[in-house]
């Protein structure tokens, strides 16, 4: 970042390239926004164009008349391929994989925050350490575990795996949040004779809603967008249970990205994350910030 243009005429507040009213600031920012949006817009436009046109000319040509938009790619994807089934599979995988770790993590976070027990700190340090463990280091033994339990290729296997993989972050975030709730609230509840279960469900859980919402979005997006875990635990064993990501990745690798309905398939897979994202962006941002720069 260097100052561009003519030498700054008047030194003083707001002067220079970064000044609030400087045209350079707006040009740079709007250019960045366009660069960021164009890839997605290009594919979105192409997904509504007939195959012959999308193959012959660039997507930007479709923005000028005569207009030839059609839904045929979407009809094709939903009618003739398995994308519809894959969409449902993704839902079946994602919803329990989001709900289970939230509960399990909330119980653990409550214990870490408001119960005294030997080894509390060291155990939590282990959780912090586990935050960065690469999934790859667990794949082979977990796959053989699932095989020996006879659940390889099932949704249950993915629920268990995603619960475990999401837990360190969930426990970490929730414990930081619950631990910063006012101590007096829990103390006076205990004096009034409230049991741990009552304080958990009546106090800790309702007061932690912002953190839980952030986590739910996080885990939902992580599982919905996951490729590797489903690829390993499902694809080789039971192709009927494939989620969207694996099936679209399969389409790309088998056709080299050359199929006209790939764009439509990609947008179907993006629909839910985008709705979640735009609807709950505030919580999502809070989750990211809280998880990373807490303290």
């Amino acid at each position: 970042m260097t100052a561009v243009g003519a030498p700054v005429e008047q030194a003083g507040p707001r002067a220079g390239w970064l000044g609030r009213h400087h045209i350079g600031l707006h040009t740079a920012l709007i250019a960045l926004m366009i660069i960021w949006a164009v890839p997605t817009i290009g594919l979105l436009v192409n997904s509504f164009r007939p195959a012959t046109e999308a193959f012959g000319t660039g997507w930007w040509q479709a923005l000028f008349p005569p207009y030839h938009f059609s839904l045929e790619n979407y009809e094709h994807v939903l009618g003739q391929s398995n994308i519809g089934t894959n969409f449902l599979n993704s839902l079946f995988i994602t919803i329990p994989s989001t709900v289970i770790p939230l509960f399990v993590a909330a119980f653990a976070a409550y214990a870490f925050s408001w119960m005294e027990f030997p080894g509390r700190n060291i155990l939590f340090v282990v959780v912090v350490g586990l935050l960065v463990v690469p999934l790859q280091a667990t794949l082979i033994p977990v796959l053989s575990l699932f095989a020996s339990w006879g659940i390889a290729g099932t949704f249950l296997a993915l629920w268990l795996a995603h619960t475990a993989y999401g837990l360190p972050f969930a426990v970490y975030l929730l414990r930081n949040f619950m631990g910063s709730l006012p101590r007096e609230v829990f103390e006076s509840a205990a004096i009034d004779g409230a049991s741990a279960v009552t304080s958990f469900f009546r106090l800790a859980l309702p007061m932690s809603v912002p953190a839980i919402a952030a986590l739910a979005i996080f885990q939902f997006l992580f599982v919905w967008n996951d490729l590797l875990v489903a690829l390993i635990y499902i694809s080789a064993v039971n192709p009927d249970n494939l989620p969207l990501t694996v099936s679209i990745a399969g389409l790309v690798t088998s056709t080299g990205g050359g199929t006209e309905f790939l764009g439509a398939a990609a947008f179907i897979s993006m629909a839910l994350p985008l709705i979640v994202f735009f609807g709950l962006q505030r919580f999502f941002v809070r989750g990211i910030v809280g998880g990373s720069v807490k303290g």
């Binding site: 970042m1 030194a11 003083g12 507040p13 707001r14 002067a15 000044g19 609030r20 920012l29 960045l32 926004m33 960021w36 949006a37 890839p39 997605t40 594919l43 012959g56 000319t57 660039g58 997507w59 449902l88 079946f92 919803i95 509960f103 119980f107 653990a108 214990a111 870490f112 119960m115 027990f117 509390r120 282990v126 912090v128 350490g129 960065v132 690469p134 999934l135 790859q136 280091a137 082979i140 977990v142 993989y165 741990a196 967008n225 996951d226 490729l227 590797l228 390993i232 990745a249 790309v252 990205g257 764009g263 947008f267 897979s269 994350p273 985008l274 941002v285 990211i288 720069v293 303290g295």
Partner: protein
């Protein structure tokens, strides 16, 4: 399909019921204990499910992977460090490792620099929310969808044909290209094109965190410097940047881990062909294409070892925060 819907309904209602029921049941179990022992037993019942998940699906498998990396492909015989010797001697593995270094350096630098730039810029305009959303959206979609999006960006048609890929059409305006972006191996151009996709995805992440830290800086500090005649650039270099360094370090560690684990983009866009392979994809091929579970485990251990320093760094940082609390 009907079966699936019924299963889904049972699961959506049943799973929370079981989990809530578990906690309720622990309290009933505790009733039989003498008063003095309850506070000592209770935490372990609340922690139980989480600890069980972590032990069975993270800690045990990590140990298992290390053991497996010392065995042959069948898993019957111990072969010492043979799998690691293979890794060090294999040109494919070393090329993947070299690419991971490129990913680590350039993804981290790119994301942190762009995230910082955008965070500083958006802080000064009225359309901050929209600008942030635009940059942030790619983080919400899957890497597979991002791969599809960018395959269209990078699309290549032979010279003379109408270019339908955005990038080749754009450079065509200036009379350059076309370039088969994902096939050019000189200077690892194709790997850089893959890194670019991830940079596009993750810049929003860095931006959000850096922006939050930026807003936490006391505006009076900056105002005072401005009154003293400092230019915006001097304010940034002298005051803002030093205060942001801890945040930049945090973002960098996250990006280093992301770079080391990079898989989806490579798997989908190039399958690791033409010298674009990375260790996570190499591990996948050794597992599923070649059934070399021993070698695949050794690759996973290499990945784990690369991440261990960051693990200790994080633990140290956490301890510091706790001391401050």
């Amino acid at each position: 399909m009907a079966d699936k819907l019924i299963t889904a309904a049972i699961v959506v209602v049943g799973v929370p019921a079981v989990l809530v029921g578990y906690i309720w049941a622990t309290e009933q179990v505790l009733r039989v204990l003498p008063e003095g022992r309850k506070p000592r037993v209770r935490p372990w019942l609340w922690l139980g499910p989480a600890l069980a998940f972590l032990a069975v699906f993270l800690i045990y498998p990590m140990i298992g992977t290390v053991v497996r990396s010392l065995q042959d492909s069948s898993g019957q015989n111990f072969v010492g460090l043979d799998n690691y010797a293979w890794f060090v001697g294999s040109s494919d593995a070393l090329s993947a490792l070299k690419n991971n270094v490129l990913w680590l350096v350039f993804l981290t630098l790119g994301v942190v620099a762009l995230g910082l730039l955008v965070a500083v810029l958006v802080d000064r305009v009225r359309y901050e929310t929209i600008a942030k959303s635009v940059i942030f959206v790619p983080l919400a979609i899957s890497m597979v969808a991002a791969s599809v999006i960018w395959l269209y960006m990078y699309q290549y048609k032979p010279e003379g044909a109408i270019q339908t890929g955005t990038l080749n059409a754009a450079i065509g305006v200036f009379g350059a290209g076309p370039v088969p972006w994902l096939q050019v191996q000189e200077f690892s151009v194709n790997t850089f094109m893959l890194i670019l996709v991830m940079t596009w995805m993750w810049t929003g992440f860095a931006m959000v965190i850096i922006s939050a830290a930026l807003k936490g800086i006391n505006p009076e500090l900056m105002e005072a410097a401005r009154v003293d005649g400092a230019t915006e650039w001097q304010v940034f270099r002298g005051i803002v940047f030093p205060l942001l360094v801890p945040t930049l370090v945090v973002v960098s560690t996250t990006m280093i881990i992301t770079a080391l684990k990079a898989f989806d983009i490579v798997f989908t866009m190039t399958s690791g062909q033409l010298n674009t392979n990375v260790i996570a994809n190499l591990m996948y091929s050794e597992m599923f294409k070649f059934g070399q579970y021993g070698r695949a485990s050794a690759i996973a251990v290499v990945l784990l070892l690369a991440i261990v320093p960051i693990m200790f760094f994080n633990i140290g940082r956490f301890r510091q925060q706790e001391a401050v609390r």
